[in-house]
Symmetry: C2
Subunit: 436 residues, 2 copies
């Protein structure tokens, strides 16, 4: 099936900041993005934060002649914001919605309403099965006191699980998106090391773009510059990751990013910078036609992985404690509401028992108190249900991590070399360390 | 890696009806189930409706010496109810929660609170990668007027997608669970035909159990017999499905079910019957070490699949209309609540404008009306958000189905034989028709 000629593939990724009525110059920027995409004639375009169906349809109409195949992933209240445009037929699309994604009552952050997820599309490029993933993880609003960290770690865990489990039949895997994590953050390391995905920024032969590959920079007029000062004027939180298989060698020939303001244009494409990666697929003859097996002792990164999973488990446990505390608070407040209600009913009963006695409590306050009781009971009930669900998701992940750890430790025992040769191989070998 | 000797595997599946305080004889039945499992010495035990962590821990303690590896999948408010016990190490566990699963306000049915899902565990049995799936779909409360049908069709669609996408690296795939669908229901056909999974009931060389393989029978004292009369005293809604790969031939040597009341015991194991399947894995040499490729033109069932996906799409569209109607109702009721509130505020403003005038409206009714307005606004807001999310999930599935259809139609065009040879092959060839 596989062609023997090398294939070039150009992949584009951008967080479009498409929050209608809130993002600045939204429709003008989508028009700019459409022009850029038409002009660039890429193979696959992976977009995040295309929240509004209208904007997706606008893009589809404008660039449909260049990219005849497209898919908009639906999820949550607003949508997942994920969209794919492709010059190659999309054979299949599949969405995995993360089990945790912030809190509905944190409406000012809004992540919960977005139903964040990872979308997968399946392409057949000259007979090669190319599995393309696009995702967007929960935003980081305060790095010093990041209350969403456990949620983001759970998302990173589910992301690596989804990719590992669904790409065993892939010749090439590409993942792009806004991970909202720095390159050395726990979630990024977990993702890279568990899946064997390589970072196009560190692998690209040529790089043209912002300093250190930053994708969220202070030069961008839409960015709040203060938050970026401690990081040297920018952070790298958008990625294009990739890996080949026994069937295909994949190399990244070049990576480029946009650089804030667009010359000759009144505004930039988004508050993030866009990434474009050029890949070269070289079909090999060494492969047996399928990817690494699950139980192969292929990795010499096992001890590192064990540490990483342990670290992630600790983070999830922190989340568990917070969630338990919140659930207790909800339960206690609910009980308080019940006590208040009982008290009120007791007061209401006074005229019944002491016949002829007047109601001692002013009526207005009485009804207001009743309404308050019901509001407390209803909201604490909902909070209790929500935090129970959060707790279940955290417990589930923690148990999956425990399972993974015991399996990894078993493999460390079976492969004594894994215990000694850690960190001896070059980053270029990372692909072989995929644990698929 | 693969051993060349044939392997026998015994798989057990039971919906345990473990609803604490509601199911009859719950803890006594779990003790009976533990005895049965200890006595039977199976390889893999796949349980549904183990809702309570305590019951899972009880089983774990009682049968842990026979089944040292176990996993309880967490999800939703109550849990997913799914549990796995195994004599073989569980290397990895992964959970996919269905995007739709009933309505939170249908508390009497309770499915929404269960967070129904499909769980996957990865076993390595003598070097073979055995991917084991366990699931439980939304219950069917009224077959004639089944308002949950679109949700169940979406679940069946997501189930087949999850299995297809995650089992490309599998040597053997086993799926067991309570599908809440009859053998010829749309969802069951979709699942079997899309994944190539074979039904152990139709494939087993020996069968010992209830007539027609029924798993929910009128002889069971916990069953409401009336509902089963139109179906001849029972329905088959629990399944063990399986398939091999290029690497391994899988055959089902026997299948048995329990038959309602347990002789010598005061009550049956559950309101469902348990299934036990004996499989024989025969490693082949014909394989190339991996499963079918995604783009192979291996299926002569393409036209049938096209029809089935079309049928499923129609069902999802029905759901879309219902969901849209419900969203409109929520929006309209919310607007009514707003109008009421505005009216009340206008009444409240009377004494302000007409100085000296008395409040014309009795105070008690005034406050009650206010509370009613807030209750209407809050509940319609939540309903609106919920139905928006339902709509998004249905739209997403409908679009995935449309994609799948166009891809299938493309393949029908490429394989002219598919257009003519439909239904000519025996059911035993079903495995080859997997579309992975």
């Amino acid at each position: 099936m596989t062609t023997s000629a090398p294939i070039r593939l150009r992949v584009f990724s951008l967080n479009c900041w498409g929050v209608r009525y809130l993002s600045k110059n939204c429709s003008e920027r989508f028009a700019l993005i459409a022009d850029l995409l038409t002009q660039e004639q890429l193979d696959i375009v992976l977009l995040q934060e295309v929240w509004c169906e209208k904007d997706f349809l606008f893009l589809k109409k404008k660039i449909g002649n260049v990219y005849p195949f497209s898919h908009h992933f639906k999820s949550g209240f607003i949508g997942s914001g994920l969209a794919v445009f492709s010059r190659h037929r999309i054979h299949d699309a599949f969405l995995y919605r993360y089990s945790l994604n912030g809190y509905p009552y944190m409406a000012q952050h809004g992540d919960w309403f977005g139903g964040k997820a990872v979308g997968k599309v399946l392409l057949n490029i000259n007979g090669l099965a190319v599995h393309v993933f696009v995702t967007h993880l929960h935003a980081e609003y305060c790095r010093e006191k990041d209350s969403y960290l456990p949620h983001r770690v759970v998302q990173a865990w589910e992301l690596q699980q989804f990719i590992r489990h669904t790409s065993a039949g892939a010749d090439v895997v590409v993942l792009a998106g806004d991970l909202n994590m720095h390159p050395e953050d726990l979630g990024t390391r977990l993702l890279r090391n568990y899946t064997g995905l390589r970072d196009s920024f560190s692998e690209a032969t040529h790089f043209d773009g912002c300093e250190e590959g930053f994708t969220h920079i202070s030069e961008n007029p839409y960015t709040h510059t203060d938050a970026l000062v401690p990081f040297g004027g920018g952070v790298r939180i958008d990625y294009i990751l990739f890996k080949g298989s026994g069937e295909v060698d994949v190399s990244c020939e070049s990576l480029s990013t946009t650089k804030g303001p667009v010359p000759g244009q009144p505004f930039p494409y988004s508050d993030h910078e866009a990434l474009t990666a050029h890949f070269l697929f070289t079909p090999t003859k060494k492969g047996n036609g399928c990817s690494e097996r699950e139980f192969g002792c292929v990795s010499d990164k096992l001890p590192e992985l064990v540490n990483m999973v342990n670290e992630a488990r600790t983070e999830v446990k922190v989340g568990l404690h917070c969630s338990e505390r919140m659930r207790h608070t909800a339960a206690r407040t609910g009980i308080m509401g019940l006590v208040l209600l009982a008290l009120e009913l007791a007061i209401a009963a006074v005229p019944l028992f002491a016949l002829g006695a007047e109601q001692p409590f002013p009526k207005a306050s009485f009804y207001l108190l009743g309404a308050l009781c019901f509001a407390i009971l209803l909201s604490t009930l909902m909070l209790y249900v929500f935090h129970c669900m959060e707790l279940k998701a955290l417990q589930g992940t923690e148990e999956q991590m425990r399972l993974a750890l015991s399996s990894l430790q078993e493999r460390v025992k079976e492969c004594p070399k894994a215990q000694s040769s850690d960190r001896l191989r070059s980053p270029l070998d990372a692909e072989d360390s995929g644990l698929l």
